[in-house]
Amino acid sequence: MKIFLLLFFCLIFSLFAQDDLLDLLDDESANTIPVSATFKATRIVNAQSIELARPKTLEFMIQHRFGSMGNGLYDLMGLDGAMIRFELKYGFNPKISLGAGRSSLNKTYDFFTKLKLSNQSNNFPLSTAVFAKAEIETLERQSEFSEKLENRLTYDSQFLIARKINSSISVQIMPTWIHHNWVRVQTNKQDLFSVGFGGRFKLTKRVSINMDTFFPLGERDENFKQSWGVGFDIETGGHVFQLMVTNVQGSYESAYIENATGTLDGMEIYLGFNITRVFRL
């Protein structure tokens, strides 16, 4: 009886196997398949994402933050006064991108690079990158000393560690070091450390909800507020729109990480959007 049963199974199995020609080739070709599109844009909300400008591609980004919503209808939820930052960046290859930006907040120019160190794949669990930026504040100043170029410089350094958990959830951790060459008040620190957290959840194929925030390491003065941002990514072909609510108005690193101004209490928060347009060169 047992034999017949076995015979029967063998027969079925051999029939089945005959159907599946592809099974004849044992799968020795375990290629490395890199994970792509951990985030849709180079920013999560305010924070830098693991994504670089794509190779041989020029990306133009406008970051627009309206005024505080605290005044209500008087200035239409802050729509009357806005801060804006333009950014142009280029991807030389999948691992290197360079760019420059200019923000109306404190008339700040910045130059930055993002370098991919590793890409998440079926063989490696994490994508990692370093981000480095030099900011030059060009606002007019009182003293000759503070007017000097070296006293206008701020350096931002970040290590970005991200993982796309599945097609809809991605998370990122960002240890951050910000160095001011010169500080206005002696009690202010020149070196500021923090850890950022960010993530996204895809609602549909083209829309995701994102958030990021930075936790300070070490002490800050009493005016310090922890920065945060919540927003949507909306993708339409060659554009990515990012709509957000955040408690910071500046959109360069030392502004949005260390100089958050708003709180939820007085609706001291800002509506904003980022637009990314991609040009193939």
């Binding site: 005959q18 020609l21 592809l22 004849l24 080739l25 792509s36 097609s167 072909g237 060659g238 193939r280």
Partner: protein, 198 residues
């Protein structure tokens, strides 16, 4: 008493082993056709597609096509890793995988079928027109598939080519209104293979 029981045990285990042995032999015999087949295959076939729409042309190629042909009965199978498609435009490639083919959910496209009237076909160095029929699975959707192809044999290598059109909507791939002028509804596909004996 002791001796008997031991000898009993011995014969029992012998019988058991013999039965097991004969079963093993049976399995071997039954699975024989699997290994005795006249199989030709490749892992590096080329597939490319081209679509032309009002605003832009889209083109991509993939050199990781697996194809298996059973020369005894003419049955064929293809397997295409979707993530292996390379576009000139990295953003297009990302959208292709993320928004259209959803390649994390559906990592491969598969065709399983046969070459019609295989018994009547005599392979030669000349390209011969053949008909392929079977089932094509793309984006998790399976459709009947029947197209022409060309096949030839040279230096014990079987070369095959085929060209066909795919209607994107047949495979549940949605094109949103906003990019309707960028993405064609019908895509031209080219396949080129060179199979060697396994």
């Amino acid at each position: 008493m002791k001796v008997v029981s031991i000898s009993n045990l011995l014969t029992n285990s012998l019988v058991f082993n013999r039965r097991r042995f004969s079963l093993g032999l049976l399995i071997l015999i039954l699975s024989q056709p699997l290994t005795a087949k006249d199989i030709y295959f490749t892992r590096s076939g080329t597939i490319s597609f081209f679509s032309t729409a009002i605003i832009e042309d889209i083109e991509a190629y993939n050199k990781q096509v697996t194809c298996v042909l059973d020369k005894e009965n003419g049955s064929v199978a293809f397997q295409v890793p979707i993530l292996g498609f390379i576009f000139e435009n990295a953003l297009m490639q990302e959208h292709f995988n993320e928004n259209y083919l959803e390649s994390e959910k559906f990592p491969t496209a598969i065709f399983k079928g046969k070459i019609n009237d295989w018994e009547l076909i005599e392979l030669s160095e000349k390209d011969q027109e053949v008909n392929l029929t079977g089932e094509m699975t793309i984006h998790g959707v399976t459709n009947e598939f029947s197209e022409k192809g060309f096949i030839s044999i040279k230096n014990n290598k079987i070369d095959g080519t085929t060209q066909f059109k795919i209607i994107v909507a047949d495979y549940g791939i949605e094109i949103p209104k906003i990019v309707r002028n960028n993405i064609a509804k019908i895509v031209d596909v080219n396949v080129k293979l060179s199979l060697k004996k396994k």
